[in-house]
C-alpha cells in the first residue's frame, strides 16, 4: 500500500476543505471578532478587549432574559422531554401490541422540518380557529381561551409545547439500546422472582443509562440550536419573553448589524454547550466503562 500514500491527502481534501470553510475559519473568526467593536453602520472595526463581554454580562437585560430562557429550556428539555421518551422506550421494549407502529409514528414530528412544525403550532394555537381554543370552547371553558403565543403569560409555555413532547429520537435510541440487551439476563431475573418494575429499574435502567445520557446531551444541544420554532411562532416576543440565545444572536447580527456583539453571544453559546456537556457527562458517568 506504500505507493498509495499519495492518494491519502487527495481523499482527505474535500472533507478538510468543508471543515475549514464552515467550522474552523468561522470558529476562529467568532472568537477574534468578539473582542472587537465591529459593526456595519457606522462602519467600525476597533479592538475593545473584553468590553463586549462586560456589557453582555453586566448591563444587557435582553441577554439576561435570553440566557435565562435558554437555560430554563435546556433544563426542561433534558428532564421532561427525555423522561417522556425514555418512559415510552421502556414500555415499547417489551414489545406490546402495536409497538412498531408507535415507534414509527412518534418519530414523524422529528423528521419533518421545524418550520413546518412551527407553522402547524401557529395554527393550532390560533385564537380564532385553532384547535386548542376550539376544544376549550366545545367543553364550555371559554374563559380559558387565550391568544396563546402572543400573550405574555402564555407565550413561554405555549412555545415550549412546540418541541417538548416530540421525543421520538430519545425513544428510538433508548429503545434500540434496550432491545440489544441480552434477554437471558432478564429471563434470569424473572425466574428469581423479580417483578417487571424491578427488572426495569435494577436491570434495564443501568444497562441503558449511557444511552439516556447521550439523549440528554442531544436534548441540550438541540436547545442551543433552537431557532426556527421560535422565530416563526412568536419571533421571540412578546417583548423578549421567548427570546433565546440563537434568536438574540440572529437579531444582533442580521437586524442591528452589530457583529462583534453578536459573536460574543456566539462564544457564549459555545461555552454554555461545553459546560452542559461536562455536567451531563459527569452526571451519567459516561466516560467510565463499568460493564
Amino acid at each position: 500500500m506504500k505507493k498509495n500514500k499519495l492518494w491519502i491527502p487527495v481523499f482527505l481534501a474535500p472533507a478538510c476543505i468543508l471543515f475549514l470553510l464552515i467550522y474552523a475559519v468561522p470558529l476562529v473568526l467568532v472568537f477574534i471578532t468578539s473582542f472587537f467593536d465591529y459593526r456595519l453602520m457606522p462602519n467600525r472595526f476597533t479592538f475593545i478587549g473584553l468590553d463586549n463581554y462586560i456589557q453582555l454580562l453586566t448591563s444587557d437585560p435582553v441577554f439576561a432574559e435570553a440566557f435565562r430562557n435558554t437555560v430554563v429550556w435546556i433544563a426542561i428539555h433534558c428532564t421532561v422531554h427525555v423522561f417522556i421518551g425514555t418512559l415510552l422506550a421502556f414500555i415499547l421494549y417489551k414489545k406490546p401490541r402495536g409497538w412498531k407502529f408507535v415507534r414509527v409514528s412518534y418519530m414523524i414530528p422529528n423528521i419533518i422540518s421545524q418550520s413546518a412544525i412551527a407553522m402547524i403550532f401557529l395554527n393550532l394555537f390560533n385564537p380564532q380557529y385553532g384547535v386548542i381554543n376550539s376544544l376549550l370552547g366545545a367543553v364550555g371553558l371559554e374563559s380559558f381561551q387565550h391568544n396563546w403565543l402572543f400573550e405574555r403569560a402564555t407565550a413561554f409555555p405555549s412555545v415550549t409545547m412546540t418541541w417538548l413532547l416530540f421525543a421520538g429520537y430519545t425513544t428510538t435510541l433508548v429503545l434500540a439500546e434496550a432491545l440489544s440487551v441480552d434477554e437471558s439476563l432478564i429471563e434470569a431475573a424473572r425466574v428469581d422472582g423479580a417483578s417487571s418494575f424491578q427488572i426495569d429499574l435494577f436491570i434495564m435502567f443501568p444497562m441503558v443509562k449511557k444511552m439516556i445520557g447521550t439523549t440528554v446531551i442531544m436534548a441540550a444541544t438541540y436547545m442551543l440550536q433552537l431557532f426556527s420554532l421560535i422565530y416563526i411562532t412568536t419571533g421571540g416576543g412578546p417583548q423578549t419573553a421567548t427570546t433565546n440565545l440563537p434568536l438574540m444572536l440572529y437579531q444582533t447580527a442580521m437586524k442591528e448589524n452589530n457583529y462583534g456583539y453578536a459573536n460574543t453571544i456566539g462564544v457564549f453559546i459555545i461555552i454554555v454547550g461545553m459546560i452542559t456537556m461536562v455536567i451531563i457527562n459527569k452526571a451519567f458517568k459516561m466516560n467510565e466503562s463499568d460493564y
Binding site: P14, L135, A176, Y250, A262, G273
Partner: protein, 280 residues
C-alpha cells in the same frame, strides 16, 4: 400458565396503552389536522377548526401554487439538498475510508478535530459563516447552501462511513490489489459498492438535515430563485394571512417529502441515529 390479572396489573396495562395512544396522538394529530384543513374552505376553517371537510377540494393547492412561488422553492430545495447530500456522502466516504484503512502521521489528531465539529452548536457560527460565504463571493447562491449543508452533516457522516469501512473485511481490497487495481479504482469499484448500507444511512440523514434546515438558509439567501421550502413557509404568515386553505396546503406540500423519505428509509434513519449517538 396464564394467570388471572390482578386489578393492579389491569390498571397498569390500561395506563401503558393509554400512554402509547397519547404519544401517537400527540405526534400525528397536528399533521393530520393540517392535511385535513388543507381540503377545507376558508369558511369551514374559520367556523369550526375541528370539523371534517365537507368535501375534498384541491383549491388550496391550486392557490398555494398560484399565489406564492412555492414550486420554485420546492425545486430549489430539491437541487440544493440532493447536491449537498451527494457531496457530503462522497467527501466523507473518501475521508472515512482513509481513516478506516490507511496509516499516516497525525491521523488520530485529524480525526478528533473533524469529529469535534459535532460538539459546536452551529448557530453560534451564524455570522462568521456568512462572512466566509461573502468573502468567497457566494452570497445568495445555491452553491453557498450546498457547501454549508454538506458541512453541517459532516461529523455524523464521518462516524458512519468510518465504521462502515472498518466492518468490511480487508481481504476484499487485497484481492483487488493483487489483480493490479490502483488505490482509487479499488475504492470506487470495490469498496463503495460494499458500503451501500453506510452510504444510505449517512445520505438519508444528510438529506433530511438539508431539506429541513432553516437558519442558514434565512441568513445566506435573499432571492426567490435561491431560497428553500422551509423559508417559503415563513412567508405564509404574512402573505397568506387570509387564505388559510392555501397555507395549510403549502405546509402539507413541505411536509410530505420528509414523511415519504422517512417511510422508505426508516431502517437507515434509525441506524444512522444510533451510529451518530456513539460519541459519549
Amino acid at each position: 400458565m396464564k394467570k388471572q390479572l390482578t386489578a393492579k396489573e389491569g390498571v397498569l396495562i390500561t395506563l401503558k396503552y393509554l400512554f402509547m395512544l397519547l404519544c401517537v396522538l400527540v405526534a400525528l394529530f397536528p399533521i393530520v389536522w393540517v392535511i385535513m384543513s388543507s381540503f377545507k374552505t376558508n369558511k369551514e376553517i374559520l367556523s369550526n377548526g375541528l370539523a371534517l371537510p365537507t368535501q375534498f377540494n384541491f383549491n388550496g393547492y391550486r392557490d398555494a401554487l398560484q399565489i406564492s412561488p412555492i414550486l420554485q422553492f420546492f425545486s430549489n430545495s430539491v437541487v440544493i439538498t440532493v447536491i449537498s447530500t451527494f457531496i457530503n456522502v462522497l467527501a466523507l466516504a473518501m475521508a472515512g475510508y482513509v481513516f478506516a484503512r490507511c496509516r499516516f502521521r497525525l491521523k488520530n489528531a485529524l480525526f478528533l478535530l473533524l469529529s469535534a465539529s459535532m460538539v459546536i452548536p452551529t448557530t453560534s457560527l451564524l455570522h462568521p459563516v456568512y462572512l466566509v460565504i461573502n468573502k468567497i463571493g457566494l452570497t445568495d447562491t445555491k452553491t453557498a447552501l450546498i457547501l454549508v449543508y454538506a458541512a453541517l452533516s459532516m461529523p455524523l457522516s464521518l462516524m458512519i462511513m468510518r465504521s462502515t469501512f472498518q466492518a468490511i473485511p480487508p481481504s476484499l481490497e487485497e484481492a483487488a490489489y493483487v489483480d493490479g487495481a490502483g488505490f482509487c479504482r479499488t475504492f470506487f469499484q470495490i469498496m463503495l459498492p460494499c458500503a451501500k448500507g453506510g452510504l444510505a444511512s449517512a445520505g438519508v440523514l444528510a438529506f433530511l438535515n438539508g431539506w429541513n434546515e432553516f437558519t442558514f438558509a434565512l441568513v445566506l439567501t435573499s432571492s426567490t430563485s435561491v431560497r428553500t421550502l422551509p423559508l417559503a413557509l415563513g412567508y405564509f404568515t404574512s402573505s397568506f394571512s387570509f387564505n388559510y386553505t392555501a397555507m395549510f396546503a403549502a405546509i402539507t406540500i413541505a411536509v410530505i417529502p420528509s414523511i415519504l423519505v422517512f417511510a422508505i428509509f426508516q431502517e437507515q434513519i434509525v441506524n444512522s441515529l444510533i451510529a451518530g449517538s456513539v460519541k459519549g
